[in-house]
């Protein structure tokens, strides 16, 4: 099942014109506040009606202004997870979870419900009222409520934005789990590079109401052109696997044919992780470097040199694990004659496990 959207809407002094497709997996609508992300997700939900547009999930047309089709929100089979949870204060957690089934006069599959209650650890709070829950607990209930709505599409509007970092790391794994264990497309609004790096299958980058880049997450994140949307530090994201924990406090990862070391993590050996290599922490050398303090150096070939200002540039180096970005000075570009096709070594000072982000 996939989602395709094309909407145009005019606000005061702001035009939204966005067209994109979201395949299975988790698609992050990524951009600054005011870029139109929330408007788009609310249009998908049917909570706002764009002036013109077409929204299709699978084969079902949710809205087509040209054909005069508008499916009201309650018939769209959604699971919408709001930033502010929006649990019903007068209902217990259990009644909140079962709300969608009651609304649709649908039988609750007790096994399915038990699985979701179990996965989100909701059993101890089923009889409590939302007011008695912490922010993280509320959001877990909200996720459960959305999943139990039997949705054909899950929407999440900055679901972690109102949580502190500890709560964030408590909730993030659930989104990974939903992404990996269901085939329901997830549309996830975020302005956090870390969340994008960790969760996204597909990224739709938005700026001032327009889609400036869309595609598989690793491609978009490795694209220096995606920088204007505030990627914080630009940086490539690679898929890696935990190989071993060493006694000197380091964890060894393998990505492609390359090996990366980083300070010991809590991850299990064999686990797949995404790592983020901030471009400002990557240096380039023409020869295999020896005698330097950074732990990681990998071989690759330059595929692009992109000036970002009068003095600096972003160099894309294709390694066996995928593109790695390095931020270098224009002087170095000239001195080392960096250009596409040239083999180089990337020296990586910092490797951040995306899974540890927020922890």
């Amino acid at each position: 099942m996939s989602l395709s959207i094309s909407i145009q809407h005019r606000f005061d002094g702001f035009d939204l014109d966005a067209t994109f497709a979201a395949p299975e997996g988790l698609t992050v609508l990524y951009g600054r506040s005011g870029s139109g992300k929330s408007t788009i997700i609310n249009a998908i939900a049917g909570l706002m009606r764009p002036h013109a547009g077409k929204i299709v999930v699978g084969t079902e047309v949710l809205q087509d202004t040209q054909a005069g089709v508008f499916v009201p929100p309650h018939k769209r089979r959604l699971g919408y997870i709001f930033q502010d949870s929006r649990l019903f204060p007068h209902l217990s957690v259990a009644r909140n979870l079962d709300y969608a089934a009651h609304a649709a006069r649908r039988e609750i599959d007790p096994q399915h419900r038990a699985r979701i209650v179990d996965m989100l650890g909701l059993a101890p709070m089923l009889n409590r009222r939302p007011v008695a829950l912490s922010g993280g607990e509320k959001q877990r209930v909200a996720i459960g409520r959305a999943l139990l709505a039997d949705p054909q599409l899950i929407l999440a509007d900055e679901p972690l934005a109102s949580l502190d970092s500890e709560r964030k790391s408590e909730i993030l794994p659930y989104f990974e789990q939903i992404r990996d264990e269901t085939d329901i497309p997830i549309i996830y609004v975020s302005h956090s590079a870390d969340e994008v790096a960790r969760l996204a299958t597909t990224v739709v980058a938005l700026e001032r109401g327009a889609v400036i880049r869309q595609g598989p997450a690793l491609d978009v994140l490795a694209d220096p052109n995606a920088m204007p949307l505030g990627l914080g530090a630009v940086g490539a994201v690679l898929d890696a696997r935990v190989v071993a924990h060493h006694t000197d406090g380091l964890t060894e990862l393998s990505a492609g044919q390359d090996t990366y070391f980083l300070p010991r993590t809590r991850l299990d050996v064999g686990q797949h992780v995404r790592v983020r290599l901030p471009a400002s922490d990557v240096m380039l050398a023409l020869q295999q470097p020896v005698g330097f303090s950074a732990l990681n150096s990998v071989a690759g070939t330059i595929t692009a040199v992109q000036p970002t200002s009068a003095s600096s540039a972003i160099v894309t180096v294709l390694t066996s694990a995928g593109p790695v970005l390095a931020r270098v000075t224009q002087r170095s570009v000239a001195a080392l004659e960096l250009q596409a096709g040239k083999p180089v070594f990337a020296i990586v000072k910092t490797v951040a496990i995306a899974s540890d982000i927020g922890a």
């Binding site: 309650h74 204060p89 709300y99 609304a103 007011v131």
Partner: protein, 232 residues
């Protein structure tokens, strides 16, 4: 207990007052909720007019309201005549007292419900819609329960107001013993006759006790409902 030693006429007035107030409150509740919802949530042409109409009984002299009722709902009035053909008569019947009480109490009822409605976060209703609830279902399962404190408070207030209604009632349906003579009408009638101060005083005490009781009940109910809604 001299005070509670009511004469049959006094008992009639008390039970009639309670009946009239109760029926008036129950009957005006659905209309009151609808009016409050329209005023709180909808934008429509003539909204200010509706708002004015709802509040008119609050500012009009009750005798004017009573006169207008008589004109419209009297046997020869445009609505009254029509209703009479259907077998419904308001003028000089206890049902007329109900109508007068309901209309006089209506502004209080609508105000309380509207305030409570406006405190309900529309975002919760949106969330309910995304979970598959139709508008009606959202109203029944989300809006109405969250408005319950206001509905309870408004009902009790409206009941107390109906108990005390005098001007519009006596103008519209007069003060016929056993038919339309409510407690306030009875007190007024007693005061017209020398030597009946004792009986009048007894009914005055009844009025005060009922009114105070209703106000206290309204507070308690509203507080309890709010607590339950917020889930402590």
């Amino acid at each position: 207990m001299m005070l509670l030693d009511f004469s049959p006429t006094e008992w009639q007035a008390i039970t009639l007052s309670l009946k009239v107030s109760l029926v008036a409150t129950i009957c005006s509740l659905p209309v009151g909720i609808l009016a409050a919802y329209a005023l709180a949530r909808w934008d429509f042409y003539g909204k200010q007019l509706l708002n004015g109409l709802v509040h008119l009984p609050l500012v009009l002299p009750p005798v004017v309201t009573g006169y207008l009722l008589l004109t419209v709902f009297g046997v020869r009035g445009p609505v009254g005549g029509f209703l009479q053909d259907l077998g419904i008569v308001f003028a000089f019947r206890w049902t007329g007292a109900v109508l007068a009480a309901a209309i006089m109490a209506f502004p209080l009822l609508v105000r309380a419900i509207r305030l409570s409605l406006e405190a309900v976060d529309p975002k919760l209703e949106q969330a309910a819609a995304t979970l598959g609830a139709s508008r009606l279902w959202v109203f029944i399962t989300i809006t109405l329960p969250l408005t319950l404190p206001g509905i309870l408070a408004g009902s009790v207030l409206s009941f107390a107001k109906a108990l005390g209604e005098f001007g519009a009632t006596i103008t519209f349906v007069s003060s016929i013993q056993g038919q339309t003579q409510t407690v306030p009408s009875a007190i007024y009638a007693l005061l017209q006759v020398p030597g009946q101060e004792g009986a009048a005083l007894r009914l005055v005490v009844v009025s005060v006790v009922l009114a105070m009781g209703a106000l206290l009940l309204s507070e308690v109910l509203a507080r309890r409902a709010t607590k339950r809604m917020r889930g402590t």
